[in-house]
């Protein structure tokens, strides 16, 4: 018994050392980014990686706001897009995954193979098709083409399916039916709660991905009042010989802050450490 305890203590020491090391490694880029947000462009050009702050925060803020960077407008647009995308993706992917796991239907395997195939097509060329199509139907400067496609998110459907396969017991579905619950209600009221940990992780990933997405919004949104935060940051970079690096880093810092908040809110479902497993409901 004692040796087990001793080995557990050794093990725990190793765990803490590794975790602290990994955490420091994680903080590093954020630290550099925040430090650079307080340094002048020329200081950054001389040494781009610094661990101590400079004195140019106020000046960087002035450059930032003087350069058509409107943090509030960007924040609102980014928030609408990312929240909308996350809700659409999480809800409908769960629904599609449920259809793939809970029901036996003839095209089920074909449909799943199809979803996987969509996931596997490299995006570089289909991107061209997407932009062409959006421009053809005139759907530029609308936030909807940035939100609605999330309803069909193959990677997330795949994850939800795998998750349900591991955790869903069809007995619950059956007993709900006996209680007279309709299929749609069963999904909303019984299945969704089971999927909380899965939904929380995927919600974080989707939100982060959507928040940081630059290329598609850049091409589809051409009006300043529709710009997202990453678009505004990319504008700060302008052309190579006149980039105001200090304000770029300040912009990046401002862009990342809301992500922290969202992540902390959602992470409670991952961190909880309590199994929200199927049979517990």
């Amino acid at each position: 018994m004692k040796s087990i305890k001793a080995s557990t203590i050794t093990m725990k020491t190793v765990i803490y050392i590794v975790c602290i090391f990994l955490s420091l490694l994680s903080i590093f880029p954020f630290w550099v980014m925040i430090m650079n947000a307080t340094r002048s462009t020329y200081q950054i050009q001389q040494t781009s990686v610094a661990l101590f702050p400079g004195k140019s925060l106020v000046n960087n803020w002035k450059i930032l706001t003087g350069k058509s960077f409107n943090p509030w407008v960007g924040f609102v647009n980014s928030m609408i897009i990312s929240t909308g995308t996350t809700i659409c993706a999480v809800y409908f992917s769960s629904l599609t995954a449920y259809a793939l796991v809970a029901y036996t239907w003839r095209l089920r395997n074909a449909f799943f193979s199809f979803i996987m195939a969509v996931l596997m097509i490299p995006a570089q060329v289909s991107g061209i098709g997407f932009y062409q199509f959006m421009y053809k139907i005139g759907w530029t400067n609308s936030l909807l083409p940035l939100i609605l496609p999330a309803i069909a998110a193959p990677a997330m459907v795949f994850f939800m399916r795998q998750y349900l396969m591991a955790t869903l017991s069809l007995d619950i579905v059956a007993s709900a039916r006996i209680d007279g619950s309709g299929e749609f209600r069963t999904f909303n009221q019984i299945i969704l709660p089971i999927m909380k940990p899965a939904m929380a992780t995927q919600a974080i990933f989707t939100f982060v991905g959507s928040w940081n997405n630059l290329f598609i919004p850049l091409i589809l949104l051409t009006r300043q009042e529709k710009y997202t935060m990453p678009i505004m940051v990319s504008l700060l970079r302008g052309d190579i010989y006149k980039t105001e690096y200090g304000s770029v880093y300040l912009g990046l810092t401002l862009t990342v802050l809301p992500l922290f908040v969202i992540y902390f809110i959602l992470s409670k479902y991952i961190i909880a450490g309590v199994a929200l497993g199927a049979l517990k409901e």
């Binding site: 990686v49 809970a102 969509v118 309590v274």
Partner: protein
């Protein structure tokens, strides 16, 4: 499970409608575009008319004969392997540590949050940061190695093929192991707690519990991590492009960067880009099918065995 009279199959179809409709509206055209263009003569900017080639596979044979494309495939495979093996190992290890009840790692909430953080920053920021870190003749890594006595003079890391590959693999590993870990932890949280309790009562140690109970139950999620990271790895784009534009001497050119260059670096070879996409797509399909096949068999066999074992042990106790 089969029920007489009522068939629920139609709900499978009904619940799939939102996905299918959205796909048709937003992705059908882009997908068909990718597939069809590969068989045509479409190249050049702003062209909308094209005709099919008399030899429909001309673009494909051109791409298959393209030395740079072959290089890019090899690079992708190498960089992916260098990133994926440490990534899945560390992610599984951390998952085991954080979910083993005996360890009760304190502040694990904070660790989980911190470890995922590299995934929050945009790829562009990370790529620029690392490029600066490995700067030459003046850069933090060079300064450090000289100060520690490993180097006498600054080393031009950006000209070293394997260093460049390694840096990209490291960035990729470091940005994604937290993500894989969170996915795996979510999978563990979905496992029935009574299984762990029963095993603990049986006196199983942490390692046994992880390999005999957690891992088999996690198979479907591990399969997800494997497949998506393989797809993500084979489509790796931002970091290799932004870190050093595929240099030196094509050493960090991945297949997605190659495809992008075909389409956007000056000649607008949309048809060849599309043919290359299809080839990469086929490679991914073959590998995925193989993975599904390997994982599926073992999965069911092991799960069944395990259940029997637990039942038998429970019976004895």
């Amino acid at each position: 499970m089969a029920r007489k009279g009522v068939s629920y199959a139609k709900w499978g179809y009904i619940f799939s409608i939102p996905f299918v409709v959205t796909f048709i509206i937003f992705s059908l055209y882009p997908t068909l575009y990718t597939v069809v263009i590969g068989f045509t003569d479409l190249r050049g900017l702003g062209k909308t008319t094209f005709k099919f080639l008399s030899d429909p596979f001309a673009n494909f044979t051109a791409i298959l004969a393209n030395v740079t494309f072959k290089q890019s495939l090899a690079n992708t495979a190498i960089i992916w392997t260098m990133n994926f093996i440490p990534q899945i190992t560390l992610a599984l290890l951390l998952t085991a540590w954080f979910t083993t009840r005996r360890f009760q790692v304190k502040a694990q909430g904070a660790f989980k949050v911190l470890i995922y953080m590299p995934n929050i920053i945009t790829a562009a920021t990370i790529a620029i940061l690392f490029n600066a870190l490995f700067g030459y003749p003046k850069g933090p890594v060079n300064d450090l190695l000289i100060r520690l006595g490993f180097l006498d003079a600054p080393s031009n890391f950006h000209l070293q093929k394997w260093t460049s590959k390694g840096v990209i693999a490291f960035i990729q590993f470091w940005m994604w192991y937290g993500n894989s870990m969170i996915v795996l932890i979510a999978g563990v949280l979905g496992i029935d707690v009574t299984l762990f309790e029963a095993a603990e009562i049986d006196g199983a140690n942490a390692t046994q519990i992880f390999f005999r109970i957690t891992l088999p139950r996690l198979k479907t999620i591990v399969l997800y991590v494997l497949i998506t990271s393989m797809i993500g790895g084979l489509q790796m784009f931002d970091i290799p492009r932004l870190y050093n534009l595929g240099r030196p001497d094509n050493a960090t050119l991945t297949s997605s960067v190659f495809i992008y260059n075909q389409a956007f670096s000056g000649s607008y070879l949309y048809n060849r880009a599309s043919a290359a996409s299809m080839i990469v797509f086929l490679i991914i399909v073959v590998l995925s099918v193989a993975l599904f096949f390997i994982m599926r068999d073992k999965d069911e066999v092991k799960a069944r065995k395990l259940e029997r074992q637990i039942k038998r042990r429970g019976g004895v106790a």
